[in-house]
Symmetry: C2
Subunit: 375 residues, 2 copies
């Protein structure tokens, strides 16, 4: 709904943008897009970035124009928003359950190349019926639980049974495996992340062996996120990576460590919540106008950018408190600052617009067309 007009205009100075606002630093964002495109090309992986992070057609089309084969979505409503905005190849890396949602998914296949995951026989039969009734074609991957302990079948024999059934059904095409290890993405040490993906790859390898023994080949073996994509790329079993957060990064990914124990700097922080000091009535504290409705807190507090000694804490619905006790900078009423969100995806889901800035100027306003698209 048109709650608010765009919160800024191209050409404005950043300092004139009202707060809170969601900023994308274009230099960092473009560096990230290029960097991941190179990483994928160098490792021979297809790149299919996850659009659940950005929910934005402008960004999806940027990614595709830089070599991505399409994007992933997690929800049918996300895919609807992106197809309506011109994205033409979407893999829904999730199970889609129930007649209504399946019908919406299948309808998208009239205008875009669509694929979906299954981990259940009854769901597969319902998918098949709807797809046949609409006379569309749908790619299907079997989701394998490679350690995430969430969705996905638990053993290779069940994958085989589903894959064989998909092959026997008209209008559905067996594409391969969805094998994403979500839990491994934010494990801090390089060695632990590597070990987790090593284990995932073993599971995938055993599954592929069983399938190929029965004459079934997988065109797609997809997985990987921003925290682990190099391990999947090196595994020799995956052929498609689906990272999302790399375009933005967040404070939580910033806490991941490299092999030598240094900070994870494959990508640059490009996403910020712009906020403003709106009360300084207490000594050593400043209240800012971004709280639980402007930042996601599931992965910890946001981190103030370039404000040494300043800590954000005590979020309430519309406020946060900056502790200035050890501050090495001076803030005053109206001071505008950038916060690095703890977790990018659910923070993005709070906003209708990205304010895309280059240096200290607004360059573009990008609508977050799939904001709130949770169904």
């Amino acid at each position: 709904m048109p709650v608010e007009n765009p919160p800024a205009q191209p050409g404005m100075r950043l300092e004139d943008v009202d707060t809170p606002a969601l900023l994308v630093d274009l230099d960092a964002y473009e560096w990230n897009i290029d960097q991941m495109a190179k990483e994928a090309a160098n490792s021979g992986m297809r790149l299919r970035p996850h659009a659940k992070t950005h929910k934005c057609a402008v960004i999806a089309l940027d990614q595709i124009s830089h070599g991505a084969v399409g994007v992933c979505c997690q929800k049918v409503s996300e895919a609807e928003a992106l197809v309506n905005a011109g994205v033409r190849d979407i893999f829904v890396t999730n199970e889609v359950v129930g007649l209504h949602k399946i019908t919406r998914l299948a309808s998208l296949a009239k205008r875009a190349t669509m694929a979906v995951c299954v981990d259940n026989q009854n769901n597969l039969e319902e998918l098949s019926k709807v797809v046949a009734s609409l006379d569309v074609h749908l790619g299907v991957c079997v989701e394998v639980d490679v350690g995430g302990a969430r969705c996905g079948v638990q053993d290779a024999e069940s994958v085989l049974a589903l894959a064989q059934r998909i092959q026997s059904l008209g209008n559905l095409e067996f594409k391969g495996l969805q094998a994403y290890q979500g839990r491994a993405q934010h494990v801090r040490t390089h060695a632990e992340r590597k070990a987790a993906i090593h284990q995932s790859a073993d599971t995938v390898r055993r599954t592929l062996d069983l399938l190929s023994g029965k004459g079934l080949s997988c065109e797609v073996v997809s997985g990987a996120g921003t925290g682990t994509y190099r391990f999947e790329a090196a595994s020799s079993v995956y052929n498609e990576i689906q990272p999302g957060s790399y375009i933005f990064m967040d404070a939580d990914y910033g806490r991941n460590l490299t092999e030598t124990g240094t900070e994870f700097t494959d990508f640059r922080q490009s996403l910020f919540v712009y906020t403003q000091v709106m009360s300084m009535a207490r000594k050593n504290y400043a209240v800012v106008d971004a709280g639980l409705k402007a930042i996601a807190f599931d992965s910890g507090m946001p981190v103030p950018l370039d404000l040494p000694g300043v800590q954000y804490g005590r979020p309430s619905d519309e406020h946060g408190v900056l502790d200035l006790t050890e501050a090495q900078v001076t803030l005053s009423l109206g001071s505008k600052i950038k916060l690095i969100p703890g977790h990018c995806d659910p923070t993005v889901n709070l906003y209708d617009w990205y304010v895309a800035v280059r240096g200290d100027r607004v360059e573009a306003l990008w609508p977050i067309v799939a904001r709130g698209a949770v169904s």
Copy 2:
């Protein structure tokens, strides 16, 4: 932005509503509206419910038609959305800082009775200039820190100085005090909440005494939330209460205790996130389609309604996991269930529509016009 059409239609059966969706149980909601109206009337308090909870003009107008004198907002953009939808009396219970935001606030005073809070002299001077230049009238309350340790001036002398300055400025009217104790709302025991508000009321009383000694009277002494409103009403210093959550309630308010240690049942749970089982690949676990983008988790996990022994846990962006180890009910793929959110306000902020249901039928779709209105 028109991300999604309304997620349901009046007359539909609830079980046909696609998930996730935000439900309002109309019987419980109407009971809550009536109940708070009676409580306010019986205690002689003006009722000015906080619209930051619901962000919905339909609900604001319902509250006003049941005797509320107007509503509170926390953000100028919330107030803009509600004024545009016909609400004509709004108290912004927050400081509004910066020329741009102040201009937006003052512009609303052309069409509605508006009031705002101050806790800073410079901010007050800027307010005065803008209001004069637009030739509008604005009510101003001084915010007093009564224990929230967030915004609000710290001592009675500072309140007096601001109040006297307001009185000296054209176009601004000194209305009184904003004295909300946010921290006390979710303190669990009745005795502790009572003690906290007793202390707040003492601070207010000392302030009122100082002001009245200088010939200043307060038409408005406003505060109170769903967790404490009876204490403010009994204090003899407050004359306006501004509870928000009572219309919906949430799991966290549900953990507050009454004087006798029993569950807090002044109001009924009317807000639910409707979700669906979309994967059951693991023994004893069911995955539902509502995670960090569909429910707020700052006040703990959502609680499944009427599913004894079932626990919601491990939220990720788009999923939650139901632990069925001790379940006394059977769930299957596609089962739709209701979750009581941990915290109502930021959960509402994730949705564009309320699906208002009576029994097992959809009765209305209410747009959440101030969803995402954080500026």
